[in-house]
Amino acid sequence: MEKTATEKAKRDEPALEINLKDPWLAAFLAWLVPGLGHIYQGRTGKGVLFFVCIVGTFYYGLYIGGGRVVYASTADIFSMQFLHDRWQYVCQLGVGLPALPALVQRARALDNRPPLFGDNFMRPPRENPAPGGPPFQSRDESNPKNVVQHPDELAEWNYKLGDYFEIGTVFTVIAGLLNVLAIYDAHGGPLVIPPPEDKKDEKKKESRDNK
């Protein structure tokens, strides 16, 4: 069902009739690929802006975090443990298709199959070393003679990446949350800010009514 939204954000901005086409389909497309819902509605400029900003932020965060910061827990998806292990993934999932490979990597990890696209791409951390593989340990940077033992692979990633693990996580989480705003915009049109004059008129009306 086609819908239209009227945007009159400011007095100097002319009122625009926006054809939202099918808002639910637009919202789904906007979730799947940031900006795609807007392009479907013919709002190409905004679609490109959303795509560049959101996908750029997401992949920059993934790059900073060495491909490790987007992963889904191997716990049952509908359990609290899934959120407890990696609640950030729920926010990252807001970005749609770019975050979905983490679910594929999770399924492969549960089936004991090797991860796709190399060892560094969105796969969940291992709790135990692979059979015959190296233990979770790394060299102390301040004194290479010392070996640091890690309880699990996540601890090893945190040690090796340091702040970049957190910074990458923040970038990817914010990208997912920003896309929620973009999805809302695709479904309902821009959030209208009433012009200041209108607010004054409303206050005058209210005072008149009170009298």
């Binding site: 954000a9 901005e13 905004k46 802006l49 932020t57 920003l178 915009d185």
Partner: protein, 77 residues
């Protein structure tokens, strides 16, 4: 204890120190967040860019105020 006269210089030195490392990661984030938030409130590109600029400056000022408050609190410890 740092005097009131020395405080602005201390803040500048602190920002310079941070600027060399992690603070720069805030720049792409601020640009992205301000553009996306502005785009959800307007339809025309000019209005989006003007709103994004204002919003970006607002974020930077807000962050600077929070940083200054935290720094002052740490000096008072």
């Amino acid at each position: 204890m740092i005097s009131a006269f020395q405080m602005p210089f201390a803040v500048i030195i602190l920002l310079a120190e941070l600027g060399a490392t992690r603070m720069w990661y805030a720049v792409p984030l601020i640009v992205s967040v301000s553009l996306v938030c502005a785009a959800t409130r307007h339809e025309q590109m000019n209005a989006i860019l003007v709103h994004a600029l204002r919003f970006g400056i607002w974020i930077v000022v807000f962050m600077a105020i929070v940083l200054a408050v935290i720094q002052v609190l740490s000096w008072m410890q």
